[in-house]
């Protein structure tokens, strides 16, 4: 029963935050602030982790495939793995750890220090003032971050293959291009859009739910990250089933 009521609350929160008469003039600055926080702020860590993702994937695949399959397969498999699965999910999980927790902590602190009551008392909907820009900011940032991540992972993979495995860049790229299917890219981007909803709605929802003090704010950040991660994995499976299954 508790699970169902939480799902109902979660959905109601999303509807309250996302579906209302938008005033783009007022929301524009707040959305840009969130793009800066979620997108630009996450970029360095995404680049770093994606670089290692590309390296590790190439090392593992070369260990399993080289000698058994033509060398251009390395580019083909790294590319498809990164576009379909690793890029979107790794970016989603990193952003959920970094941003869902920050959103829950920020909104939760605003709740316990009466700042959300202050918004309500000024006839400003906190869902529209705090929730909507965060959802939109994440929705715009995450697909862009995912593309960055994919590019960096594939590029570092190609550099490793060229430098340490004697796979010429032209061969690696041949495999990459020959086995590129737009469906892989767009399926991955569809995942990142759904992950963006999961991350931002979890972060904001648990922030708004805080009652009490510092301990509850801490718990809210934990719930936000755990829920976002679980939702990301569930959504990943559903999209995989529908688009690639």
């Amino acid at each position: 029963m508790n699970l169902f009521s939480n799902i109902a609350d979660f959905s109601a929160f999303f509807l309250k935050s996302f579906f209302f008469p938008w005033d783009f003039r007022k929301q524009k600055i707040r959305i840009l602030e969130q793009i800066d926080s979620v997108g630009v702020g996450s970029l360095p860590i995404i680049i770093l982790i994606s670089a290692f993702l590309g390296l590790v994937t190439t090392v593992q695949l070369s260990y399993q495939l080289l000698g058994l399959l033509p060398r251009y397969f390395l580019g083909a498999v790294v590319g498809r793995m990164v576009l379909i699965e690793l890029g979107p999910i790794l970016t989603g999980l990193i952003v959920s750890g970094r941003c869902a927790s920050a959103m829950a902590a920020e909104i939760g602190t605003m709740r316990v220090t009466e700042q959300i009551d202050a918004l309500e008392s000024m006839a400003i909907s906190p869902y529209q003032f705090l929730g909507f820009p965060r959802i939109m900011g994440t929705l715009i940032s995450l697909p862009i971050l995912t593309v960055f991540s994919e590019f960096v992972a594939i590029y570092t993979g190609s550099l490793y293959a060229h430098t340490f495995l004697n796979v010429p860049l032209s061969v690696y790229n041949y495999g990459l291009v020959r086995n590129f299917y737009p469906r892989d890219l767009f399926g991955g981007l569809l995942k990142s859009i759904l992950f963006a909803f999961a991350i931002s709605v979890s972060g904001c929802f648990f922030g708004f739910k805080v009652k009490g003090g510092a301990k509850e704010v801490g718990a809210a950040t934990t719930y936000a990250v755990v829920t976002a991660c679980v939702l990301i994995l569930i959504l990943d499976f559903i999209v995989a089933l529908l688009v690639f299954g």
Binding site: D117, A118, S121, M122, A123
Partner: protein, 228 residues
């Protein structure tokens, strides 16, 4: 005029407000006295529907906020300035942005007019030139004054003060009390003040009530040992 009728609120079976009824006449300040933890803040928030209540009616100029549609609730809230005990200033915004927020959200006035209005409000509360400071650089009393300036931004008919002088030094306390008295006298603002500070209540209150054990009782005067 604000009319509160039979307001009842409970938390986990414990009644914080039991059939609370009173009236706030125009240009009058009603002071609700009571020791800490008696539900004064709950009363203030319930009147503005910031908290759900079990039963009761709250009429702002004849309109019941507790049964009103969301749009009407927001229209009523725009007619009320709320000064929170914690000041509730937005940490991420400076003083200017805090005060300008309701103007940006609810009016179509230009940026220049907003700047002038904020400047004027800061002069009224005695904090000129502090626009660029952030809340973490303000003392408790200054935060309270900025909170009052923000509450005045939309030129509300009513002002609600939640423990306006609690935790302040005597000089700042006197400054805020004088400001509340002047706002009532010069701008004809009516409203509700909840406080446990008897001296403040004595100076600013036109009508006094005592909230105890969830029930409200009108006081003719403040006597020593009132909380007995």
């Amino acid at each position: 005029m604000i009319e509160i009728k039979n307001l009842t609120k409970q938390f986990d079976g414990l009644y914080v407000l039991k059939d609370v009824s009173f009236v706030v006449e125009d240009a009058k300040l009603v002071v609700i006295l009571g020791p800490s933890g008696t539900g004064k803040t709950v009363l203030l928030k319930s009147i503005l529907r910031l908290l759900p209540v079990e039963s009761g009616e709250v009429y702002f100029d004849g309109k019941n906020i507790l049964t009103a549609e969301t749009r009407e609730v927001y229209a009523i809230r725009r007619s009320v300035g709320f000064v929170f005990q914690s000041s509730a200033l937005f940490d991420s915004m400076n003083v200017y942005e805090n005060i300008a927020l309701p103007l940006v959200e609810h009016t179509k006035i230009s940026g220049r007019e907003i700047r002038e209005k904020v400047k004027e409000l800061l002069e009224i509360v005695g904090l000129p030139g502090r626009e660029k400071l952030y809340p973490n650089a303000l003392s408790g009393g200054m935060k309270r004054l900025v909170s009052i300036a923000r509450a005045l931004a939309l030129e509300p008919r009513y002002l609600f003060y939640d423990e306006p002088t609690t935790g302040l030094d005597p000089i700042m306390r006197e400054r805020i009390v004088n400001l509340i008295v002047n706002l009532k006298k010069d701008f004809k603002k009516s409203g509700i003040v909840v406080t446990h500070d008897l001296e403040t209540a004595r100076i600013i209150g036109d009508v006094l009530y005592m909230l105890k054990d969830g029930q409200i009782k009108k006081l003719e005067r403040i006597e020593k040992g009132i909380y007995g």
